[in-house]
């Protein structure tokens, strides 16, 4: 009972924190829009200026919606990989799925030199294909090789190999294409609007619900695949579902926002630490919530309140996530367990 009330308290606390950060994030920027003004606008008492409405609907709300979706989805990928590979340092980034997506993006931006509207769609599709290819390779390898460390090393090798190819492509590409790719690879939550946002929502939200429904199965996997099988888990199907959801989630986010580092690895550990338990039925929603809190917070930090400068989001999340991973490895003995 004590444990359950802790989880419920945590969910409320994170929810509240998220709302506070959400309001803060909306307010921040060169033109201030307070929550009271927004409420007044919605209730019709006083209206915002056209400029304010434009900023809100075209920039700030889509950006925060993107942050919320990416913040929920990346920890889900990380958590699924950590549980499946039973390795606390697994994550979409470590296993090379994000590199696969980057490779796809690089082909579109650097290879084909696509820009504008064409780029939006082809970028997403290419990143999906890239992420999916790496995932299928990992899937194939993991059927052949039982040892999880080997699979992890192979994932890191895929990742490095793709990075090498991308750097060759960068070397031979034109300055303008190179610049767009470099900016893409720094990550941004602010480029997703309109149709892109709805594609992202369609790709991500149903899968988030699906992963919540898979929590029980993930619990079964915590003891390894043999135990899971003996408890009636259909291993092949489960692997397929986990690999597929992870590649679609990570691939979609990377396609639209560029790589966003360390959220996938670090947030599940933060959630475990906060919850002090590993039951995926609570760990999964708490990871999603924590991820949203962390990414909205990172977004606020990246906007450098009080200045006109914006930091690349990937750098901010890495700087927040890296200490968590270091703390995990160096300070915390429990890093050995999931």
């Amino acid at each position: 009972m004590k444990i359950q009330s802790r989880s419920i308290f945590l969910i409320y606390a994170l929810g509240l924190l998220l709302i506070v950060l959400f309001l803060l994030d909306i307010r921040l920027g060169s033109i201030s829009i307070t929550f009271a003004e927004m409420l007044a606008h919605i209730s019709g008492k006083a209206s915002l200026s056209d400029q304010q409405v434009l900023i809100l609907t075209k920039f700030r709300l889509p950006r925060i919606a993107t942050a919320l979706m990416a913040g929920a989805a990346l920890p889900v990928c990380g958590l699924q990989m950590q549980t499946l590979f039973r390795n606390p340092l697994a994550g979409p980034y470590v296993l090379g799925i994000s590199s696969g997506a980057s490779f796809g993006a690089a082909i579109v931006v650097l290879g084909a030199g696509a820009t504008g509207i064409v780029a939006t769609w082809s970028l997403a599709i290419a990143a999906w294909i890239g992420a999916g290819t790496v995932m299928l390779l990992l899937l194939f390898v993991s059927y052949r090789i039982k040892d999880v460390m080997t699979i992890l090393i192979l994932g890191i090798m895929f990742s490095s190999g793709l990075a090498a190819i991308i750097s060759i492509m960068q070397y031979f590409s034109q300055a303008s294409a190179l610049k767009s790719f470099v900016i893409w690879s720094m990550g941004s939550l602010g480029n997703v609007t309109g149709a892109q946002l709805s594609i992202m929502a369609w790709a991500i939200l149903p899968l988030l619900v699906l992963t919540l429904a898979y929590s029980k199965v993930l619990n079964g996997l915590m003891l390894g695949e043999e135990y899971a099988l003996s408890m009636g888990v259909r291993i092949q199907r489960t692997r397929l579902v986990i690999f597929a959801t992870t590649s679609i989630l990570a691939g979609t986010i990377t396609a639209f926002c560029g790589p966003i580092g360390f959220i996938g690895i670090a947030v599940p550990h933060m959630a475990r630490f906060l919850l002090n338990r590993s039951d995926h039925r609570v760990l999964m929603p708490v990871s999603m919530l924590t991820g949203m809190v962390v990414l909205v917070f990172s977004d606020i930090v990246s906007r450098l309140p009080g200045t006109d400068q914006i930091l690349p989001i990937n750098a901010v999340t890495s700087l927040i996530g890296i200490p968590v991973v270091i703390w995990l490895v160096v300070m915390n003995r429990k890093a050995q367990s999931l």
């Binding site: 619990n219 003891l223 390894g224 003996s230 009636g232 590993s278 039951d279 429990k334 050995q336």
Partner: protein
Amino acid sequence: MTHRQAEHIISLDHFSIGHHKENALLSKLKLTVNRGEMVALIGRNGAGKSTLLKSMIGLLAPLDGVCLLEGLPFADYTLPQRARKVSFVSSQITQLPALSVGELVGLGRMPYTGWMGRKSPEDRASISQALDEVQMTSFSERKLDCLSDGERQRAMIARAFAQDTPLMVLDEPTAFLDIPNTYELIRLLSRFRDGGRSIVYSTHDLETAMQCADKMWVIHEGKILEGAPEDLGMSGLFNELFFTSGISFDEQAGRFLFSGKERGRVSLEGEEEKSLRWTSNTLKRLGFRLDKGAGKRIRIEYSNNEYSWILQRNGGSLRFESLYTLARFLIQE
């Protein structure tokens, strides 16, 4: 052989196991497990114990042959159906999840809960019964990485118990345990057996297995011999089994001896039973053979609650106050 097929919870026929078709570890096995029976699987490292257990319950694919579970081919059961018939405890302790004991045992209810894993009152009753069986009710909130080897193994067994299956299969459940924990665990399994479950477990520990198993499967030279421990003991199998490894089986005592150096014959006399038994253990351990007509004689004297051992040879005699000093002298001689 008038048993009906369904009396066997497991019945293997023409069963071959291994990792490659051309190179079977064990082939054409014909073995059975009855209801409410404890079977100990004995064999050397690499003989195929784990492979047999896993192939038998569908965790590995057998190379050939039939496995009937309660009279029906194993393949006819769906995975969730199997999970209600057979539970498994692995020999590997790889990475432990940060679960509490209660949560771990709760995993055993997976085959019974719905897609969200919500536990019914029946599930909860099962979990608390399992914790009670292994005497870990007070450990329910404790994390797995804060347990001793023995406690952890009991928790793993409680998880299998909570799965509430007529057959429990355990791969070397005592491998990492000290002797008291080993006995504790075997006693636990015997209690499950007495409660009507069938238990199959693999072990290196022949001595404990001899004392509790209803049946033994002994892997020897690519075959499996099946029978009561005593049947196998009488057949002289155990001496053969350990012939090369410097261990011999004392058929009278029903236990194993390390056969070191041969040290000749000695005769032993004395009135008091306990001291005779322990002295003979010492002498056997050192490699002496007991023989009434031997020139070397040991006599045990017992007075005022003190034992002493008199060694007589070549006319001379020496007195020792403990078996240790006697043994030291005999070795150095």
